[in-house]
């Protein structure tokens, strides 16, 4: 068995030999190839991830566990994380997306938390193409069928179409769960003399080598060597969730791991390494679904809907009886002993005996060369699309509103149960999702953001803008941001210009997080999102969680009322670089996006928070895709009322109406609160731009569109 065919590099093999003091045997080689793959080891990005700020006053658990946790008050925490399932979804969209949802739910469960809400970030190829339809249908059904059945509401998400995802769609799954802070389960709490118990579905050959598969480009030859497709069983997952939570409630779970990439090997060696114990697994005891599985296949199988629990010997019978009640397999497959070994036994023989810490944590980092792309200048130079729309301003608004990226997404989220668990106060369709926290009467605000086009033009400011967009949305609605999770979707890091983009994007995100005091508590990296024909745009995605103490503090969007004054806060114009306008009218992002300005952002957030708290506005919406024009249109549509807007003609109309970037928002303010509103925004650009009323949206000198027409465009038949 050649280590190179398993994807290990020379340097890595040498490190293994040195760490073991001998050559690895075949089983061990398989284990190392998976555990030291990009997907499991983060060997290309560990250095970058250190840039993220991880501390904050609400952080209970930072990166390094199955999910991060923030304090949501009164002894309760929110555990959350986002993860990619891109490669599996490219190959088998339905099962790929479904098992992505299932996997992230188990990550949350592993913290002892009850999975409470999911979100999905979906990136598809060009709209209308047959392959896009096939992939998006399968992916959306996969997300829906799994989440609906398991009873975790899908409460929001992000959907974007761009030709760069033609061959390589992205599926990012986010989940959040609630946990009592005195019941948090960790990987680091196992002690010698305890038992490793495997609960859930029997093990088959599913997804073996999935981690390695996710760590290379989707070349045709990898498509043929692809792992056996993982099949999701949401019913089994529901039983597993209830069973594990019942065991947590009974206080018998010492430690718990989901079985993700790397299966038993990954979960057991992680507990061993983090807890500082040895784990001895007897592979014969693993309940199997298939005959003739080799030891390494059992050890690496990624069969879904399984959890590994570490429990005390005295509790075994109780654990078995609870599993039996839920109709789940339960097998004691190993034990913890003192030391730092990861040992696998099969038919009486030791087939693996390696240091647990070596397997799980000591893959040498790679530092790929980084070079700014040759075509960066070309990307950043403006093109001919910087002119007034040929068919007029009304047509421009209608075209943007009906473009799949910015149109109504209810055709997607109505296929998802977004209400089960009855916590959804403001569901999908709004800039932020609001959930109640039943145990303490407070509210969680969630956003998911991504802006691949701006990241393509300037990854640093694109990355910062992505984070800032999320934070602005949360603060505008009155939430206090608690923490962030992110998924870094990029092509291969092995090409210097691509690595540069990755590095810059992370630097931009980290800078925004640090300046705006938003700690990163968990995340995921998905590289090699490319094929021989195309590669994805740099697509970092963030999910940010905020807290709202009471509904009094919550400022909704889409609540214009007759007579309200409209204010635009922030600079009057934005940039067209990487904007929705460009995307629709030239198909190609070009130019230099607005650079990140920490002082401005902070000044904005401070005032936005006061605006929500002081209740001096009826409705607020930060400007995002499509700029001022689409923000006005969406507020009008959601409110069911028009407005008359009169813009200061000094700014260039294009960047005024369709420019994006930087901290900007529109507010609807009742006349008697206008003075108070302006007082709060003193020292920040603020302009009164119009008045709510009527049944059309008119911008003097530019456009006049009946509400009906806006709705029609946005809803798309």
């Amino acid at each position: 068995m050649n280590y190179r065919t398993l994807g290990l590099r020379d340097k890595e093999y040498d490190a293994i030999v040195e760490g073991l003091g001998r050559e690895p045997n075949e089983t061990e080689l398989h284990l190392f190839s998976v555990m030291w793959s990009e997907h499991c080891s983060y060997k290309s990005t560990r250095r970058l991830l250190r840039l993220f700020p991880k501390e904050g006053k609400s952080v209970v658990q930072g990166p390094g566990e199955n999910a991060g946790i923030v304090d949501v008050g009164d002894g309760w925490g929110a555990a959350f994380k986002v993860e990619s399932h891109n490669h599996p979804s490219a190959v088998e969209p339905y099962q790929g997306a479904a098992t992505g949802v299932g996997g992230i739910i188990r990550d949350i469960l592993a913290m002892g938390a009850r999975p409470t809400a999911s979100m999905d970030g979906l990136f598809f190829g060009r709209e209308g193409a047959r392959s896009t339809r096939r992939l998006s249908d399968g992916i959306i059904r996969g997300v829906g069928d799994y989440g609906n059945c398991v009873g975790v509401p899908t409460v929001g998400g992000k959907t974007a179409y761009d030709p760069s995802y033609d061959e390589n769609p992205l599926v990012n799954a986010f989940c959040l769960g609630l946990v009592r802070l005195d019941r948090v389960i960790k990987s680091s709490t196992a002690a010698p003399g305890q038992v490793a118990v495997l609960i859930g579905s029997p093990t088959g050959r599913d997804g073996i080598g999935g981690a390695a598969f996710a760590s290379v480009e989707l070349a045709d030859e990898t498509k043929s060597s692809r792992p056996q497709v993982q099949i999701g069983d949401p019913f089994a997952e529901k039983l597993l969730v209830e069973c594990c939570l019942e065991l947590v409630e009974l206080g018998v779970v010492v430690s718990m791991q989901d079985m993700g990439a790397g299966g038993i090997t990954s979960s057991a060696s992680e507990v061993a390494a983090k807890s500082g114990v040895s784990v001895v697994i007897e592979l014969d005891r693993v309940p199997l679904r298939e005959e003739g599985m080799a030891p390494w296949e059992i050890a690496l199988s990624e069969s879904q809907e399984r959890m590994l629990l570490i429990v005390q010997k005295k509790d075994i019978e109780l654990v078995e009886s609870v599993a039996a009640k839920w109709g789940l397999n339960c097998a004691s497959i190993g034990a913890t002993t003192p030391g730092d070994r990861f040992v696998l036994k099969y038919k009486g023989n030791v087939v693996t005996d390696v240091p647990a810490s070596l397997l799980g944590g000591e893959c040498p980092e790679i530092s790929w060369p980084s070079l700014s792309p040759e075509d960066l200048n070309a990307r950043q130079s403006f093109g001919a699309e910087q002119i007034k729309p040929s068919k007029g301003w009304e047509d421009a608004v209608v075209s943007l509103l009906s473009h799949p990226n910015w149109a109504d997404k209810s055709w997607i989220y109505e296929q998802y149960d977004h209400m089960v668990q009855i916590n959804t106060i403001v569901g999908p369709g709004s800039p932020v999702t609001l959930l109640r926290i039943k145990p303490n009467g407070r509210f969680l605000a969630l956003v998911m953001e991504s802006d691949p086009w701006k990241c393509h033009l300037d990854p640093f400011s694109g990355g910062a803008e992505t984070v800032a967009k999320g934070l602005r949305a949360l603060v505008v609605c009155g939430a206090v941001p608690l923490g962030m999770t992110d998924c870094l979707n990029f092509p291969s890091p092995e090409k210097p210009d691509q690595f540069w983009e990755l590095e810059e994007a992370v630097r931009g995100m980290a800078t925004a997080c640090r300046e705006m005091a938003c700690p990163v508590v968990s995340g995921n990296v998905s590289l090699y999102n490319e094929t021989s024909k195309s590669k994805i745009l740099p697509t970092p995605l963030v999910c940010i969680v905020g807290l709202v103490d009471s509904l009094e503090d919550f400022l909704p969007s889409g609540r214009w009322k007759e007579g309200d004054r409209l204010f635009l806060v922030g600079s009057p114009g934005g940039s067209l670089a990487g904007s929705a306008y460009q995307c629709v009218f030239s198909g190609k992002p070009r130019g230099v996006p607005i650079p990140f300005d920490a002082q401005k952002e902070k000044a904005f957030l401070e005032r936005a928070a006061k605006t929500a708290k002081g209740r001096v506005a009826e409705s607020g919406r930060p400007l995002v895709g499509g700029g001022l024009a689409l923000a006005l249109a969406k507020e009008a549509i959601e409110s069911g009322i028009g407005a008359r807007v009169n813009l200061d003609a000094e700014a260039k109309p294009l960047s005024l109406l369709f420019g994006e970037g930087g901290p900007r928002a529109i507010y609807a303010v009742p006349p008697d609160k206008a003075a108070a509103f302006c007082r709060i925004w003193q020292g920040f650009p603020v302009n009164r731009i119009g008045k709510v009323g009527g049944s059309e949206l008119s911008v003097d000198g530019f456009l006049k569109i009946p509400l009906e027409k806006l709705i029609q465009a946005w809803r798309r038949p």
Partner: protein, 235 residues
């Protein structure tokens, strides 16, 4: 009022409905595992909650309808006890033959989750005392197989017996095809048995039972039941 919520493997609205009856009418709720043989003594109302019992595999509600507790649920119903099946619970009631009919996939062939307007057809059942016939209420729907089916003759007979309690309708209360989200025959969203003590309902009243959730139309159902029980309606 004492409520028994039956929990099947895969039920996922069990806690929701328990929460709704607790906060709206202060009911005392017991969760009853499907493998139990008997309902708790003194039960006033049995709820079969929504969800995906047995994953909706084979046919929605088929396996749950054969579970052990259902024998006692049937006995309870035949002695006049109140039974309410919501969504998957309605599917279970038809599979258990406690209500006539069967469910087919929505005509859109997709799962649908959104608020939905319903016209109340009867205000003389234990479940709908607090409504007015003809009133339009809004309950969320969330299902993949909600197309109620029964063959023509039986359907006519059932209509004649006034067993339909809720129909999908426009916000103005018209029963039209456009207002029908799933293709259910005669826009049927909810119906009772001949005795009037077993109600099957595809929409979710428990998702519309608190002001914070945006609608309290569903709370009227819990209040109706509670009033009926207090009034000595219990068997």
């Amino acid at each position: 009022m004492k409520v028994a919520v039956v929990v099947f493997p895969g039920s996922n609205c069990d806690a929701d409905v328990a929460h709704a009856v607790e906060v709206t009418v202060g009911a005392s709720v017991e969760m009853v595992w499907h493998a139990s043989e008997f309902l708790p003594a003194g039960t006033d109302l049995v709820i079969l909650p929504g969800g995906f019992s047995y994953g909706d595999y084979l046919r929605c509600g088929a396996m749950a309808a054969r579970s052990s507790i259902m024998k006692d649920v049937k006995r309870f119903a035949s002695s006049g006890g109140l039974v309410l099946g919501i969504c998957n619970g309605f599917q279970i009631l038809t599979e258990a033959k406690m209500l006539r009919g069967a469910f087919l996939p929505n005509r859109t062939l997709s799962f649908i989750c959104r608020p939905c307007a319903l016209r109340v057809e009867r205000d003389d059942t234990p479940f709908t005392l607090r409504y007015k016939a003809g009133q339009v209420v809004r309950f969320p729907i969330a299902h993949h197989e909600g197309l109620y089916y029964l063959d023509k003759d039986e359907l006519d007979a059932m209509e004649k017996r006034r067993q339909v309690v809720f129909r999908y309708a426009t916000p103005a209360g018209e029963v039209t095809d456009e207002a029908n989200p799933n293709g259910a025959l005669n826009n049927i969203a909810g119906m009772v048995n001949e005795g009037g003590n077993v109600l099957g309902l595809i929409p979710h009243p428990e998702r519309a039972s608190e002001p914070v959730l945006g609608s309290v139309d569903g709370a009227l159902m819990w209040q109706s039941i509670s009033e009926w029980i207090k009034g000595g309606g219990a068997h």
